[in-house]
């Protein structure tokens, strides 16, 4: 029914991704703006946004297992690593020390997710029996094992302190690294990469939204809010906890593989404990359990330092005799932001968005 947005005559409409035309309209506007951005923004910003987009994919992953299903995990970074190396081996160039098969992106991108998901199933039997901090400890152990393997499995990772080149952007046999020419118009590698990240991020985002509104999503939320009650209601704990980990790892693998193509090379030391904690931090800042939260969190994590650097640069603060260098100032400000968030807006960036939206939604009332 037009202009009766809250009149639901079937369940499909009630659980639709966009429940009304206003949302569809704004999404279309956002989409057009995002696409056109790659033609106007400088490479610096394009790279940052591309990174943010890939990080959101990873963040959605941990949001499935931690935000939705309520299982604490510290191994998310390892799954990202597994995804990155799967992609590197399948899509990367071989050298004297490392393997590489130079396969198409069509193969290595899904494979990165699938392999990561398969590895997570190792963790699944343990995850089902444990919860809370005990589970966190097990995932921590998994992280250290992975970390050790990454450092020493030289033919895959290149070894600690050295690293390797990652997968090449070759899609349908076309090498995208050299850009794409449409007549006189050349789409550069950065732009292609950006559009591809945007596309992937949208698919994965809709995927996440679909998980939330499906049977699985409701089962996850049930487990989060009370696993015994959920089991009593007929939720198969083993199946859903395992699938939460598998899905989360799939997202981690795909996000990681895509992110690695932006930086070009990767060093095994990256996937340490700090990296996993960072994943948790992103969803805490963004808003755990929400659809848009991880997106906000990832953008904040990547873009905030970018803005801080940018401000420091144009104000020429770094040139004066500050006792701290650029990286230190950046880290301090970023840390401060996180602390302020946890104090003043525990629901994260999404919470601010939520309040802002409700302010206008409730007009002219306040509730």
């Amino acid at each position: 029914m037009k202009s009766r947005p809250n009149l639901y005559t079937n369940y499909d409409k009630e659980s639709a991704i966009f429940s009304n035309n206003t949302q569809k309209f704004w999404f279309a506007v956002l989409f057009v703006l995002s696409v056109s951005l790659c033609f106007v923004a400088t490479d610096y910003w394009i790279l940052l946004i591309s990174r943010s987009l890939t990080f959101s994919i990873g963040a959605w992953g941990i949001n499935i297992v931690s935000g939705l299903a309520g299982q604490i995990t510290l191994a998310h970074g390892s799954f990202i690593g597994i995804g990155v190396y799967t992609a590197a081996v399948l899509g990367g160039v071989a050298s004297n020390s490392v393997w590489g098969y130079e396969l198409d992106m069509l193969i290595w991108l899904p494979a990165a997710g699938i392999v990561a998901a398969l590895f997570s199933l190792i963790l699944a039997p343990l995850a089902v029996r444990l919860k809370g901090l005990n589970l966190a400890l097990v995932t921590l152990a998994f992280l250290f094992i992975c970390s050790h393997i990454f450092s020493n499995f030289i033919s895959v990772t290149g070894g600690a302190g050295i690293g390797r080149k990652v997968a090449k952007l070759v899609l349908f046999g076309i090498n995208l690294e050299e850009g794409l020419a449409f007549g006189n118009f050349l789409l550069e590698k950065n732009q292609i990469q950006y559009l591809f990240c945007l596309f992937l991020c949208m698919i994965m985002g809709f995927g996440f939204k679909n998980i939330v509104r499906s049977r699985a999503g409701r089962a996850y939320a049930g487990i989060r809010d009370g696993d015994i009650a959920a089991e009593a209601l007929g939720v198969n704990l083993f199946r859903y906890k395992a699938s939460a980990f598998a899905l989360a790892s799939f997202y981690a693998g795909v996000g990681g593989a895509m992110a690695s193509t932006i930086s070009g090379g990767v060093e095994p030391g990256l996937f340490n404990l700090l990296f996993s904690i960072l994943a948790v931090a992103i969803i805490v800042i963004g808003g755990a359990g929400t659809v848009l939260g991880p997106l906000f969190g990832a953008f904040f994590y990547i873009m905030a330092p970018g803005f801080i650097q940018y401000i420091l640069k144009i104000t020429h603060l770094t040139e004066s005799a500050l006792p701290l260098n650029l990286g230190q100032i950046e880290a301090i400000l970023f840390g401060l932001c996180i602390i302020l968030f946890l104090i003043f807006e525990p629901r994260g960036l999404w919470g601010i968005w939520f309040r802002l939206r409700n302010y206008f939604k409730a007009w002219p009332f306040s509730y």
């Binding site: 202009s3 009766r4 809250n6 009149l7 639901y8 005559t9 079937n10 369940y11 009630e14 302010y359 007009w363 002219p364 009332f365 306040s366 509730y367």
Partner: protein, 616 residues
């Protein structure tokens, strides 16, 4: 194929109105897939098409026939509004039987009276609650053949031989229908204008309820007037949306939902319950909104109170908009309805807050909103006018199919009930009583020759019992003839006028003015618990129950302030004393009628100690 309002009116003008059952049959053939009803089940509005509507009604007709219901027999329905109500009602009327609506709030004793007085053969009961009432009195109702219930919940252990579920009943009807599908359509052709279609029991503020017999002819005639209704010029779209929440056993709800709704080929959306009307309204955003003052007052006071909790900027903008709205409405009323300045002011208010306010109230798409059944306070009416809801007051009663006089959205005189409607003759008797003559005047009271003769004279004039005066062309209702107060000083006072001025306050729910043969006027006050409680919380006044709250000195002061405000505005005598009613009034205890009207006599007797206290 979309049908426009003009097409609908053309058909009505050329072919005249139909009774509801004929019209459902007609629509089901011409527009079978049009949505007739929506009913919320587990949060989703389940739809019924006109085709299904007609089919189910046919099953009901055949089921009734199976159990021996014949032309002229009565069938009772006691249920909240829901699709089954319509199936049963239309199914009953189709075969010439008389459908009698009972209020779900009717207690067992009244159920017994209504069922035995109407001689109902079948009772359609909604759920366990209604079945229990009927079973309690079934031994004294020998003519009652079956009790058919809609809701199975809680009914598993019942095994009374006369009980039956609605689906079983429909199954019987269905197999009967399959063996003789033309039966109902043949019966409909035989329906005569003089045959009784529905019987509406007037709630009776005095004495036992009387059954008003409304004929197929009455319904046809009212439907024929539809193109001349004040709504006609305003409806823009062919698919009108109704929200059915006024009780269908009352003539107002029946007229709007069953008669007008079906004739406009509209979709009737059934509210989940009276408590959810506000959310249902917001979801449905009906195009046609009939209301009783009680509901409108509640919406008004709800909005005002919620506005007090709003943030600073919102509050300021709302106040500013209301200020503009007030100016605009005054200009509209005093000059003309097309006043340019008024339109500009209203559109500013619309942008600032009225648009979203209307959306929250569920009236954003309302193209027609009428208030009836009781007098409405001018402030409430103006509030709705200023936020842009085309609300107006109309007047009617059971005995004339609720169709007598009406304002129209473009021609309102506040405080009056408008001009006589199309086809209605109106005159004032010598004592000021309003007399009505029209095709909608009922046949008479069931089994009460004397009362009928007192109400309709030999020329067909209906004595309404309301005293009115003319203000220009407009009719103003002074009060019920028997309610008018004559003070010991000899002054004539209309209590309802003062009561309505007092009830404008969002804090006051009930006001009963007293003063017949007394030195001065006084009033009994019942507070609106929700808003007063909210007010008390903000003032840090601790309270527990209704009684506790209403006896607080602060609350009494608040009430007196509100009464003083009303006193300033009144042209007749001032109210000098008041007392708080220590409990919430209730239908089941006989203090209110089923339509939530105060039974004045009962209250005056019940609280005689409070009243005497005021005058001693």
């Amino acid at each position: 194929m979309a049908i426009t309002m003009n097409d609908i009116y053309e058909i009505l003008k050329n072919e005249g109105g139909r009774t509801p059952s004929e019209k459902v049959m007609e629509v089901s053939k011409d527009y079978p897939e049009k949505i007739a009803m929506r009913y919320k089940v587990f949060g989703i509005w389940q739809e019924t098409t006109y085709k299904d509507f007609w089919l189910k009604s046919n099953y009901v007709s055949m089921g009734l026939r199976f159990f021996g219901v014949e032309k002229g027999d009565s069938v009772a329905i006691q249920s909240e509004n829901r699709p089954e109500w319509f199936f049963a009602d239309v199914g009953t009327q189709s075969i010439g039987a008389v459908s009698v609506g009972l209020y779900p709030t009717n207690p067992a004793a009244e159920v017994k009276y209504l069922l035995s007085h109407s001689e109902s053969k079948i009772l359609f009961a909604e759920d366990q609650e209604q079945v229990d009432k009927a079973l309690e009195v079934i031994d004294s109702l020998p003519q009652l053949e079956k009790i058919v219930y809609f809701e199975k919940k809680g009914m598993y252990s019942y095994d009374h031989p006369k009980l039956m579920t609605f689906s079983e009943f429909l199954d019987i009807g269905k197999s009967e229908y399959e063996s003789f599908p033309e039966f109902v359509e043949n019966e409909i052709i035989d329906l005569d204008d003089n045959d009784v279609a529905i019987m509406v029991y007037t709630s009776g503020t005095t004495g036992p309820p009387k059954g008003s017999m409304i004929t197929h002819g009455n319904l046809r005639w009212v439907a024929t007037q539809l193109p001349y209704f004040p709504i006609s010029n305003n409806l823009s779209e062919g698919d009108s949306q109704f929200l059915s929440y006024l009780p269908l056993c009352h003539v107002f709800g029946r007229l709007i939902d069953l008669l007008i709704g079906i004739h406009l080929m509209a979709t009737i959306n059934f509210a989940e319950s009276i408590d959810t009307v506000q959310t249902d309204l917001a979801e449905i955003q009906p195009t046609i909104f009939p209301a009783v003052p009680r509901i409108l007052e509640k919406m008004h006071s709800g909005a005002i109170v919620r506005m007090k909790d709003a943030s600073f900027i919102k509050r300021i903008l709302f106040k500013f908009s209301m200020y503009l709205g007030d100016i605009a409405v005054e200009r509209k009323l005093n000059k003309n309805f097309d006043d340019l300045l008024a339109k500009i002011l209203l559109s500013i208010g619309y942008i600032l807050s009225f648009r979203s306010l209307r959306k929250k109230l569920g009236l954003q798409r309302a193209e027609f909103a009428a208030s009836g059944a009781a007098p409405i306070a001018p402030e409430v009416l103006k509030f709705f006018m200023s936020i842009g809801v085309p609300l107006f007051e109309a007047y009617g009663m059971t005995e004339n199919c609720a169709y007598a006089t009406s304002n129209s959205p473009e021609n309102i005189k506040i405080g009056t009930v408008g001009v006589p409607a199309h086809g209605v003759e109106l005159k004032l008797a010598d004592d000021g009583e309003i007399l009505i003559r029209s095709g909608g005047v009922f046949k008479g009271y069931f089994k009460d020759e004397q009362a009928t003769n007192e109400t309709i004279d030999k020329d067909g004039w209906l004595y309404t019992g309301d005293v009115g005066i003319y203000e220009g062309d407009f009719v103003k209702i002074v009060d019920r003839k028997r309610d008018i107060i004559i003070t010991s000083g000899g002054k004539n006072v209309s209590p309802s006028e003062i009561e309505n001025k007092i009830k404008v306050s969002p804090f006051i729910k009930e006001a009963i003015v007293i003063g017949d043969r007394r030195k001065f006027l006084s009033v009994l006050i019942g507070i609106e618990f929700d808003t007063v409680s909210n007010w008390a919380l903000r003032k840090n006044i601790p309270h527990t129950t209704y009684r506790d709250l209403s006896e607080k000195q602060e609350v009494k002061d608040l009430v007196w302030k509100e009464i003083s405000k009303a006193n300033e505005k009144t042209s007749s005598l001032e109210v000098r004393e008041f007392r708080m009613i220590p409990k919430e009034l209730d239908h089941e205890e006989g203090e209110l009628t089923a339509t939530q009207k105060v039974k004045r006599n009962v209250l005056i007797e019940q609280f005689s100690d409070l009243i005497e206290e005021m005058y001693s």
